[in-house]
């Protein structure tokens, strides 16, 4: 049963506090996703609107200057697809 537990109660920090900064990155929320944003590079004008509106802050400018999500954190909410002025993002069912 303890297989379902993160750690023994004696090892928890006082009051279940989080004592290391930056640990939110360990909580990979990407596995909640059913839809995935797919970018059409032909249409994208690299305006960065999707990055601004992504509630997960997981879209950033990559080396190819396109704005792309980090799929460890993308929840598939579709806000980026909605906000894109060029309809360059399509939400499609993700195949696991």
């Amino acid at each position: 049963m303890s297989k379902n537990s993160i750690c023994a109660w004696q090892e928890l920090a006082l009051g279940c506090a989080v004592v290391e900064p930056g640990n939110a990155s360990q909580l990979r929320t990407g596995d909640w996703r059913t839809l995935i944003p797919v970018l059409n590079e032909e249409e994208c004008i690299k305006c960065g609107m999707c990055a601004v509106y992504c509630p997960e802050f997981c879209i950033s400018e990559r080396e190819d200057e396109f704005y792309r999500p980090d799929f460890d954190y993308c929840k598939g909410c579709g806000i980026c697809a909605n906000i894109c002025p060029k309809d360059a993002i399509k939400m499609v069912m993700e195949e696991k």
């Binding site: 379902n4 537990s5 109660w9 928890l12 009051g15 506090a17």
Partner: protein, 390 residues
């Protein structure tokens, strides 16, 4: 060292908080707690207490501000009563889960409806499972001294849990009693400054009160429960130290009347004083009766209670709250579960009295005793004084 002053008990509690050098008081006034925080706001306003007084817009905010303040490492105090305590309800769990040693006085009062400002224990009995250390006081001197002790208990690194001092509304809060006040030096020696084990500090960042996913919630609950269970010896230790310093005799559970009596009254809070007088009178009449007074309510001092009731065949448990739909009042419920499976467990006779401020004179406890001896009280519980002459 000590001088005796005739003073309203609420003001004595405010003085205790001043002597304890509280850093932050966040409170909303509610009858019959008002005089405590009103007096504290005077202290802060005229510079007698170097503290931050946060006049919030509700008790929900009072407790929320207290959580923030204690998390920042400040010695934090608040007081409430009845509906105000109910309004704090959701934050009470957060304070204990975050292991914040807030001290709170609850001026016990019945809950609406019908609207009642008078005393009983229905407010605190609805808060049995919040994970706070909870004590009940019987008189003004005890209210003063345990209010200071509460900080020492709560802030002990073996405890680090919020602590409630329960005192009966009006019956205690608004009574003028002769009270001995310690001087600041004595209190400083008894109560060192608050040393938080963890606090909000930009130099050492921590996240307090995070999400507890199913994979950690249970372990977090266990940590708090264990801290509460482990607080019992610390409460005992602090009371012993207080006894030594102030010449008192406080214990987790107290007994009086005939030793090893066949019948014992069990009380919690100020009605214990009336029962005490009744027991003395009954003893003088040669009756085999004693009294067990519960001072520490959470964590419940099981072993101490059993020792204090040794030899009893019958316990007359006085409850100050109704537990609708249950088999008896909340204190009797507790004691039934404590006694279950114990060898030679005494019978429990439960009398629920003094509800919504209904007066219970000393004579009536003698009557309760006589009826209990004759087996004439209800097997479940008796609502004492109920008018049912339809």
């Amino acid at each position: 060292m000590l001088k005796r002053v005739g003073i309203e008990v609420s003001l004595a509690v405010a003085e205790a908080v001043r002597l304890a050098r509280a850093d932050v008081i966040s409170a909303y006034p509610i009858t019959p707690q008002t005089h405590i925080v009103e007096e504290l706001s005077h202290y802060v306003a005229n510079g007698e207490l170097d503290a931050e007084f946060i006049p919030v817009e509700s008790e929900h905010s009072a407790m929320s501000a207290a959580v923030g303040s204690a998390a920042a490492g400040a010695r934090t105090y608040t007081a409430t009563s009845s509906q105000g305590l109910a309004l704090m309800h959701e934050i009470l769990f957060i304070a204990s889960a975050m292991r914040l040693p807030i001290v709170m006085t609850v001026a016990n009062r019945s809950l609406s409806g019908p609207i009642s400002i008078w005393n009983d224990h229905s407010d605190i009995m609805a808060e049995r499972d919040i994970g706070w250390v909870q004590l009940f006081v019987e008189d003004g001197q005890e209210a003063l001294e345990l209010s200071m002790a509460a900080f020492k208990i709560a802030e002990d690194h073996r405890v680090l849990l919020p602590t409630i001092i329960n005192m009966d509304g009006f019956i205690l809060t608004h009574m003028i009693e002769p009270i001995e006040f310690p001087d600041q030096k004595t209190v400083d020696a008894f109560l060192p400054p608050f040393e938080p084990a963890m606090r909000l500090d930009p130099a050492h960042p921590v996240s307090m009160g995070p999400v507890g996913v199913p994979e950690v919630y249970l372990e977090a609950k266990k940590q708090c429960e264990q801290a509460l269970l482990d607080s019992k010896p610390v409460v005992k230790e602090v009371l012993d130290e207080l006894n030594e310093l102030f010449g008192r005799d406080y214990d987790l559970v107290q007994t009086n009347g005939k030793d090893g009596a066949e019948t014992r009254f069990v009380t919690m809070g100020s009605l214990g004083e009336s029962v005490y007088t009744a027991v003395e009178a009954l003893n003088a009449e040669g009756k085999d009766v004693g009294q067990t007074r519960i001072r520490l309510w959470r964590p419940f001092p099981v072993e101490e209670f059993l020792a204090a009731c040794k030899g009893a065949k019958r316990l007359i448990v006085i409850d100050r709250a109704i537990s609708p739909g249950s088999v008896c009042g909340p204190v009797a419920q507790e004691l039934k579960s404590v006694l279950y499976g114990q060898p030679n467990a005494p019978e429990i006779v439960n009398v629920i009295c003094g509800i919504g401020g209904r007066d219970v004179p000393i004579e009536e406890f003698k009557e309760i005793y006589a009826l209990a001896q004759a087996g004439k009280l209800e097997k479940t519980y008796t609502l004492w004084g109920l008018n049912s002459n339809a």
